[in-house]
């Protein structure tokens, strides 16, 4: 099913989330079928010397937090890469790296190359709404020989969704290296959280408007099993931030791996585990 521009405009302003979800699910299935990928991520702190725990089932080790300095960023990457073995390591927000490069001062590309030389494979996230120059920054990631794990939205955007998503589609048209876009904001006002309708609309419209980014991603840990599962039925095809701890303290059926598989199956989809490189494990 091809969605016309008029239908897209109508979906964007409608409360009919069922029809919107059907259209987005059709678009998702044309691209991915029932295949639903997920990645188990071990977070480690950005501070050099902080403890590093990497469970054996980890598919991506992610350094989270803002590095205090260029030297600290490089040192931490070395430490984590040494501990991670063959597991891909992602690190930092591209917006933080932009700021760090400006503060040091050093060209962003030089900073990224230093991180690559320390063993980094992926920049963990590029928050579209926080980057000074998204196109330039993502191109620098690519030129430096790094990959970008995901494009994200840090906050609830004030711009209308169609306009925002047109900008993101245009960005991908220019850079061509974005593998996944996570349309749901990573931080919201706890007193006014996003609603279920909001979330469905953002995910579904992302799939329909942004047809040149392969995956629409939802954060399993941040949005929870119920909303993340619903998102899979309205256009999302990839789940980020699944716990690598597979302790079965409450029985095997309630362990994280079985829980995510159960949720994907219950949505009539097929679970496929991937690593941070988007390679099937």
């Amino acid at each position: 099913m091809t969605v016309t521009a008029a239908e897209l405009a109508s979906f964007a302003s409608s409360h009919d989330i069922i029809s919107l979800g059907v259209a987005a699910d059709d678009a998702r299935r044309q691209r991915h079928g029932a295949r639903t990928t997920f990645v188990r991520v071990a977070d480690v702190d950005a501070a050099p010397g902080a403890p590093i725990a990497i469970p054996p089932s980890t598919g991506e080790v992610r350094i989270v937090g803002t590095p205090a300095s260029r030297a600290a960023a490089v040192q931490r990457v070395r430490e984590v890469v040494a501990a991670a073995g063959k597991t891909p390591v992602s690190a930092y927000s591209l917006a933080d790296l932009e700021q760090l490069a400006a503060a040091e001062p050093v060209p962003l590309r030089a900073l990224l190359e230093e991180l690559r030389d320390a063993g980094l494979e992926l920049v963990a996230q590029a928050p579209f709404d926080q980057l000074r120059d998204a196109r330039m920054a993502i191109e620098q990631v690519n030129i430096a020989g790094l990959a970008l794990a995901r494009l994200t939205m840090e906050k609830l955007p004030t711009a209308d969704i169609p306009e925002l998503y047109r900008q993101i589609a245009a960005l991908q048209h220019d850079v061509g290296v974005i593998k996944a876009f996570a349309p749901l904001p990573r931080s919201t006002n706890p007193a006014v959280p996003t609603t279920g309708y909001d979330d469905v609309r953002r995910v579904a419209l992302a799939r329909l408007f942004i047809d040149n980014i392969p995956s629409i991603q939802v954060d399993w840990a941040l949005y929870g099993p119920k909303m993340a599962q619903v998102a899979l039925t309205v256009g999302a095809d990839d789940l980020d931030a699944v716990s690598p701890l597979d302790e079965a303290e409450e029985g095997r059926r309630r362990a994280p791996l079985e829980e995510i598989r159960r949720n994907i199956r219950a949505a009539a989809l097929e679970a496929v585990e991937r690593d941070g490189r988007f390679d099937v494990r």
Binding site: S19, G196, Y197, K226, M227, A267
Partner: protein, 402 residues
Amino acid sequence: MTIEQIADKVRSGGRVDAAEALRLYREAPTPLLGQLADEIRARKHPEGHVTYIIDRNVNYTNVCVARCAFCAFYRPVGSPEGYVLGFDELFRKIEETIAVGGVQLLLQGGHNPDLPLEWYEDLFREIKKRYPTFRLHALSPPEVIHLSRLSQQTVPDVLDRLMAAGMDSVPGGGAEILVDRVRKLLHCYGKATADEWLDVMRHAHKKGLRTTATMMYGTVETDEERLEHLMRLRELQDETGGFTAFIAWSYQPEHTELQGNEATGIEYLRTLAVSRIVLDNFPSLQASWVTQGGKVGQLSLAYGANDMGSVMIEENVVRAAGASYCMDEVEIVRNIEDAGFSAKRRNMHYDVLGEPIFREREVPRMLELAIAREDGDDSVPAELMNYPARSRAGKQLRVVPS
């Protein structure tokens, strides 16, 4: 019949039988179920209102002899964690409820052998004396049966006495799945068989009481048994017309003897939509945001629900089993309006009472649900001394120290 033929039947206002409902439940795409359920909601509620009630879900005791395997709330007789709320505490809770615009107490509790029928009658009478317009949505069918056994009076007689004391309506709790095979496995057959639960509701309806009906799914029942539950409710509603609303929620497994997993959000939306299709004679379906969270709770409005249930000031039972969602009136109204509906306050009979109360006057935000009693509070209400106890533990509590 194909799925599309069954869908056409639903669209044209036809009634599905159990086999057709089962096919829809198992095979229909989730969005199709949503569309069918939403069409029925729109036919029944064309004005575009979504209602809610401001009330308080008070559990007057957690002491219970039923020992259901899915319950994390109860404590056995004699447990140091067992409690009974005193009349004064209940009056205080009612006053807090009235202060935020509340109109009703949803009063349910354990099957406590040390609370005789007279305790309920005295409580209800005193509430009605102090707060004449305040409504008592009280005592689910298994509690009525428990009181019938305890007092050795018939269910109709117990209902008469409770109504005379002030009971206004009966909540539909304790239905779980109305199939005795399931009830035996869940250890709730003893508290009420499927027929007994339905009989209490039949008697209540014939006496002019309105009631709700519920379904707790996701334990040990089959798909066929889920559908049988809905069919039995539909039959009774055809007979009496006394149900105002249906509420489905998923089993909450934390801290229960049964354990296991909670059904997923998509399973909830499918169950809700099929319920809307099968229960074509029920005026209203509630969204269970307390078990599903605000987001899936709001999405329920696209899958057949026309009511957001209660601005629950207090909740104890599903909270004990791991659910901890909270929405105050501001948040419920925001969710209703964001979904494209107008929000209306209602009473238990689903009569519209008016616009959101926080738009009429200042009401404090409630970002956390209250609980019946704080941990460690082991006080015993003084008036319990006035009522005879049946259990050894209860009798010991009533001994006056010399």
